[in-house]
């Protein structure tokens, strides 16, 4: 089976700082991949290069058999790449249901032809129910708690009906039970056929979620394999704990 996402040798610099240095990464269809690394190791930069928010200088990104280089972020979303942001970025002047309506109008519409207004409404509420926010469909994002904001962020990414979902630190700052909520949600999404890359600092969450684990340190990939093997890798231990 060919890979859904193939990141070929990409590099990204910010001035003299090398944020990504020749990253190779393959993600198979239906996989649950964990991506970890210390702060500043390039995780979010990698996401930005994959999703088109940043353009990589070297290498290329292939998704679903198509070359993504040079495509704008919205064109990549149309092709089935979706992400949530590390710090939630809701549309503050739209209520929750309308927040989810945007990707449906602009991405799902585009892909599968015009949807009927009623079916969009139904889908909005179905998604809000999935993340437990259906009671707040008419509320504004400013009324939400931190965990609800992160759930909205995930729901909006899912509303674009992606093939690959990249969840960038969806659990930072949440309590144990809230983390369980989000993990359960991500697993449900994965079972419905969405490939997921989870970027996270909370190791218990990453270990219980991931089928495969990739470690980035200083813009380089230093490990890639089964989670239990990777965390015992001496190089990974050194990067995390110091010598």
């Amino acid at each position: 089976m060919s890979a859904l996402l193939h990141v070929k040798n990409i590099s990204k610099r910010f001035g003299g700082f090398v944020a990504l240095d020749g990253i190779e990464l393959e993600v198979a269809k239906g996989e649950r991949l964990g991506l970890i690394g210390p702060n500043g190791s390039g995780k979010s930069t990698l996401v930005n290069c994959i999703c088109g928010a940043l353009q990589n200088e070297q290498g290329s990104v292939h998704f679903d058999g198509e070359k993504m280089d040079g495509l704008a972020a919205h064109e990549r979303t149309h092709r089935g790449l979706a992400r949530s942001f590390q710090l939630p970025r809701p549309f503050v002047s739209l209520n929750l249901a309308d927040n989810l309506r945007v990707p449906m109008l602009y991405t799902v519409h585009k892909r599968s032809g015009p949807l009927h207004a009623d079916s969009i409404d139904a889908r909005c509420h179905e998604l809000l129910r999935l993340v437990g926010l259906d009671q707040k469909a008419r509320h504004m994002p400013r009324d939400l708690t931190q965990v609800e904001m992160r759930k909205l962020e995930l729901a909006r990414a899912v509303a674009a009906e992606p093939k690959l979902l990249i969840a960038d630190e969806s659990m930072a700052g949440l309590s144990h039970s809230e983390i369980e909520d989000i993990l359960l949600l991500l697993k449900q999404l994965n079972e419905s056929g969405i490939t997921i890359i989870l970027i996270e600092h909370i190791m218990s969450a990453v270990m219980s979620f991931s089928q495969r684990l990739v470690v980035l340190v200083s813009g380089k990939k230093i490990a890639d394999g089964k989670p239990e093997d990777v965390v015992r890798d001496p190089e990974v231990v050194r990067a995390y704990l110091g010598q």
Partner: protein, 318 residues
């Protein structure tokens, strides 16, 4: 209400205002009403880019002047009916709006505002040095006293009033339609967060270009009949400060998130200015705008519409 019904209703209201003014029997009402309607167009047009998308345009006067000078150019080149000139002005200003958008929309916030201001200065300099359209001396447009339409002879100022009424209705209908369709959602996401908009699949650059084009074209339409209205057009009046300031102040005072805000702001502020012009002096206009703007930014940053909405929210039980 569907767009068609809304349009019919607007036309009926417009006609009622015209007939009402006629019954009142004071010709000056049409003269003053024309200016108020002109500001309805300018503020609705500004709001499509400034209110819906969040891109503050300081160059409204330039688009208005483009419309006015297109008329002067074609008046000299080959005279034609004003409705045709309005369409030509819309095309010219729309194209310039598209071009301005393409060059400046990668800028955000204050930088975008400065770029639009700079464009107005560049265009004014061009016009001042272009003798065919009158240069710094200005240009005279001679208009008839009356015009005959379908056998009826009406005063020319009433004809201009009716034309501006039609443009005002058009801009309100466009503005309202945008807010209620997919385009309106897209514009709102641009105002809120462009990065998140892109990742939801919104083609932000294309939408912003649509906004600058529509906004520019409507402003140009507002300027097209102006030379006939004023009779003598010079760069200082076409590029006047009051157009740039009013087209920002009126939507902000009325409320920028809906089509109603600019309409309310323009009618209120425009009427106030006309009354001040007659009773005090025309020089006091910008002072009124300035003071009201300061007051509203402090007391009601979401304008009158926002003020009413927050009252309703407080009164309705949760």
């Amino acid at each position: 209400m569907s767009t068609l019904n809304f349009t019919i209703l607007s036309v009926l209201v417009g006609l009622a205002i015209y007939v009402g003014g006629h019954l009142f029997g004071v010709g000056y009402l049409f003269f003053a009403g024309y200016t108020i309607l002109q500001y309805v167009v300018l503020s609705s047009a500004w709001n499509i880019l400034g209110g819906y998308c969040g891109y503050v345009n300081f160059g409204s006067a330039a688009f208005f002047a483009l419309g006015a000078y297109s008329t002067v150019f074609f008046y000299k080149f080959h005279p034609m009916p004003i409705p045709v000139l309005i369409v030509i002005s819309a095309v010219v200003s729309g194209i310039v709006g598209l071009g301005m958008g393409y060059l400046t929309l990668r800028l955000r916030g204050a930088f975008f505002a400065i770029a639009t201001l700079a464009m107005a200065v560049v265009l004014q300099t061009l016009v001042v040095n272009w003798s065919y359209v009158g240069g710094s001396r200005g240009a005279y447009i001679v208009r008839a006293d009356t015009i005959t339409i379908a056998g009826y002879s009406i005063e020319y100022i009433e004809y201009l009033f009716l034309l501006m009424m039609a443009i005002a209705i058009l801009s309100i209908v466009i503005s309202r339609t945008i807010a209620r369709t997919q385009l309106g959602f897209g514009f709102a996401t641009i105002r809120d967060d462009e990065l998140a908009a892109e990742s939801s699949g919104v083609p932000t650059l294309r939408l912003k270009l649509i906004a600058t084009t529509i906004s520019g074209a409507l402003m140009g339409m507002a300027g097209a009949p102006f030379p006939y209205y004023i009779g003598y057009l010079q760069p200082a009046s076409a590029f006047g400060l009051e157009y740039g300031v009013n087209s920002i102040a009126m939507p902000i005072i009325g409320g920028t998130t809906s089509w109603v805000g600019p309409l309310i702001g323009a009618v209120l502020l425009g009427s106030l200015q006309q009354i001040a012009t007659v009773t005090i002096s025309s020089a006091v206009n910008l002072l009124i705008v300035g003071l009201l703007l300061v007051a509203f930014v402090i007391i009601a940053p979401n304008g009158l519409v926002g003020l009413v909405q927050s009252w309703q929210r407080e009164r309705s039980p949760k």
